[in-house]
Amino acid sequence: MMKIKKICCLALAAIMLTATGCSNNETEKVSDNQPLTYWVNFDSAASMTMSELGESPFAKKLTEETGIDVQFIHPPQGQAVEKFNILIASDELPDIIEYDWTKYPGGPEKAIDDGVIVDLTDKIKEYAPNLYKYLKEHEEVDKLVKTDSGKYFAFPFIRGDRSLTTSAGLVVRKDWLDELNIDTPQTIDDWTNMLRLFKEKKNAKAPLSVMPTAFTWNAFVGAYNTSRGFYVDDGKIKYGPMQPEYKEFLKLMNSWYSEKLLDQNFGTLDSKSLDSNILNGDAGATAGSIGSGIGRWLASATESGFDLVAVPYPTLNEGEKSEFGQIQNVVTDSQAAITSSCKNIESALKLLDYGYSDEGRMLYNFGIEGESYEVKDEYPTYTDYITKNPDGLAMSSAMARYMRSYACGPFIQDVRYMEQYAALPQQQEALNIWSDTNASEHLLPILYVKQEETNEMSKLSNSISTYENEMFLKFIMGVEPIDNFDEYVAQLKQRGIDRLIEINQSAYDRYLQR
């Protein structure tokens, strides 16, 4: 017995010694210049060559230029939302968190009230002069960035040019159009004829192959002057899927589906099967984005003569302009905020403000001069390392090592990035064609719902979007007859769509007052 006690005492003493040793080390570290911790999502393009952003030449250059050490922390891919929620429940927050803070339960102002992030309103002018200057010069951006009560809570990702807000739309096989001698389709009738020809003459199994998510880009539904989601019409918030016009759109889709012009599997289509449909000639038309759509398909096509062309968002009558199309706000939903755990707020502000300075914008958009870009005729041109990577890296993966313009972050995106990223003539043309809509007039800005309403709103929108998704597929696939549209609208109302519109409307009215 005595022996055991002795051993216990010794063990305890040893533990205590090591424990005090640990705490000593820690206090030493704090007094040192500790690096800022920076929590940010790590995308698949970046993970091709690196295990964390800190390894990149970009991060090293950032530290070199600002004199601030940064230690990056990343959630596992695809788990950002879960990890974020666990993160904010803990008391040890990283110094900077880059996340969609509008998704914080209760909104960004609640995040400030909860003591998660720091209110930057009275700090920006003094410690973030570059961002402050940009916001003062661009009132419309300023309005999107601050909350209803005029608070600044984070460093936003700003698209430096309107043309950067549209990046996806409809795509058609150019070689098929030429072969069948069809003009670029403009109206819905053109589309029906074209798809029929694709089916009959080209033996396409799924003439139009589109993923369900691509319908939120409002192709086809836009022709009926409504959209698949919330939109603004003359200052009023409307919900597209309950408008009478929407029924006409569903009728059209249903007729295309039953005629087998629309992919019979579109409800469960994933990007892998979409790729195979397009590359194997099963589909002649689809919806896609600049890079991962047009760019990738053109690059991986093996069929000779394979060519794609972007076509405008269709309308009902010749010569009209579609009211809707794919578009994003100039400021998107990713903001770098400084947390209440941050010991050195001034350094954090300085670090984040760098992306809005002239040199910082070059680093974030183009990387390091001489390595990832060269200035030719005053135009920052990507080097071959980026465009024709010697190791065979995809352009975005090569970019991920030197810059963040291909994704998002606390900086102003430069239009010259897109001019080179979408370098193919088909891609450049696509950007012009797709952005030729009136979509910006109907786009909802970033809305901040009142704290007390967020819980109700998330319950309502969950229930409604689930139901809408389900009925969307059922109507088109003919499982539910379109005559039941009125009952569907009644069900939406029962699920509280009117209340949801009301919440959005009041948030929108507050936005106008900002």
């Binding site: 879960e82 929620n85 339960p105 998660v116 929108s461 229930s463 389900e470 597929l473």
Partner: protein, 314 residues
């Protein structure tokens, strides 16, 4: 020994009795500690999270700081337009599964029991165990491929119907796909416990029965089945307790909005609300509701079983 203990019991107080018991069976008590710890740490401690169901929970303020809202979440769920459908689906899927997948391993065990060729028996058993060890994600990927419009099962069915379609787009086919794939995956593993029970049956009884003129069928009815009835009953009660708790994994891997009508169940609803919609409190309330119903069912099954044939869990 026993009489001695009784004398002690009479002489000293209850506390003393416990002390003595603790001392004499110390090693047993030490052995049970890890099990207790497991239940306390992993089953009882997390239960305080149930409090979330009565709150408007926010991760930052935590359970002690979030506002209380009473039974609002439960009311919302019971009056939600989806309630009827997901409750019905959960019941349909679990009852069908009970009817099909509960007897299946028993029948398989009885069949395997009759095989005399040792080598063949163990090989076929091993083959039937394998699907159990494949991850659910992989299994569901296989199922989706098999029943897609170009899949092997769809092709087989197309021989009769002439039309090759993606079977997961048809709400009415979801139930058979779900249940039969469960049978395929679970039948081998499920039969293990019955095989064990069967190996305990006295061989002499069969010999006696065959002398009395019983054929194989009669032997099964009168010897084998009665021998494993206690096992079957216990398994049945346990199964009833899980009646409503069908895992969400398989459902969310197989379903799509088109077939929510037949496929959406309580646990997939909880998953969507909690992880996709981040309505943690609401999601918890739905989960609590589910557990309460399960508890009621298992109590009921246990009661009935005790009344009918004296076999019960407690």
């Amino acid at each position: 020994m026993k009489t001695k203990q009784n004398i002690y019991k009479a002489k000293r107080g209850v506390l003393e009795e416990y002390k003595r018991d603790l001392k004499s069976n110390a090693s047993l008590y030490i052995m049970v500690i890890p099990v207790l710890l497991f239940y306390i740490i992993f089953c009882y401690k997390p239960m305080y999270g149930v409090l979330m169901a009565f709150q408007q929970y926010s991760p930052r303020t935590g359970i002690w700081g979030s506002p209380w809202i009473g039974l609002q979440n439960f009311k919302d769920f019971l009056t939600s337009p989806d309630f009827g459908r997901i409750f019905r689906n959960t019941l349909t899927i679990s009852l069908t599964s009970l009817i099909v997948n509960f007897p299946a391993p028993i029948i398989l065990a009885l069949l395997l029991n009759e095989i005399r060729q040792k080598c063949f028996k163990s090989v076929s058993q091993t083959i039937m165990y394998i699907p159990h060890f494949i991850s659910m994600v992989v299994i569901c990927g296989m199922i989706r491929d098999f029943v897609s419009d170009k899949g092997i099962v769809s092709q087989l069915i197309a021989v009769f119907t002439g039309e090759q379609v993606n079977m997961l787009n048809n709400a009415n086919l979801y139930l058979p796909i779900y249940i039969l794939s469960d049978t395929w995956q679970g039948i081998g593993w499920g039969s293990v416990i019955y095989m064990a029970a069967l190996s305990g049956v006295d061989r002499e009884m069969y010999e006696a029965a065959s002398i009395d003129g019983c054929g194989k069928w009669k032997q099964t009815i009168h010897i084998t089945i009665p021998a494993i009835v206690p096992t079957i009953v216990i398994m049945f009660i346990l199964r009833i307790g899980n009646l409503l708790s069908i895992g969400y994994e398989k459902t969310i891997l197989l379903y799509n909005p088109l077939i929510y009508e037949k496929a959406d169940i309580i646990s997939s609803y909880v998953y969507r609300q909690g992880f996709e919609g981040q309505n943690w409190s609401y999601s918890t309330a739905v989960g609590v509701f589910n557990s309460v119903i399960n508890l009621m069912l298992v109590t009921l099954a246990n009661y009935i079983s005790r009344k009918l044939n004296d076999t019960s869990l407690w």
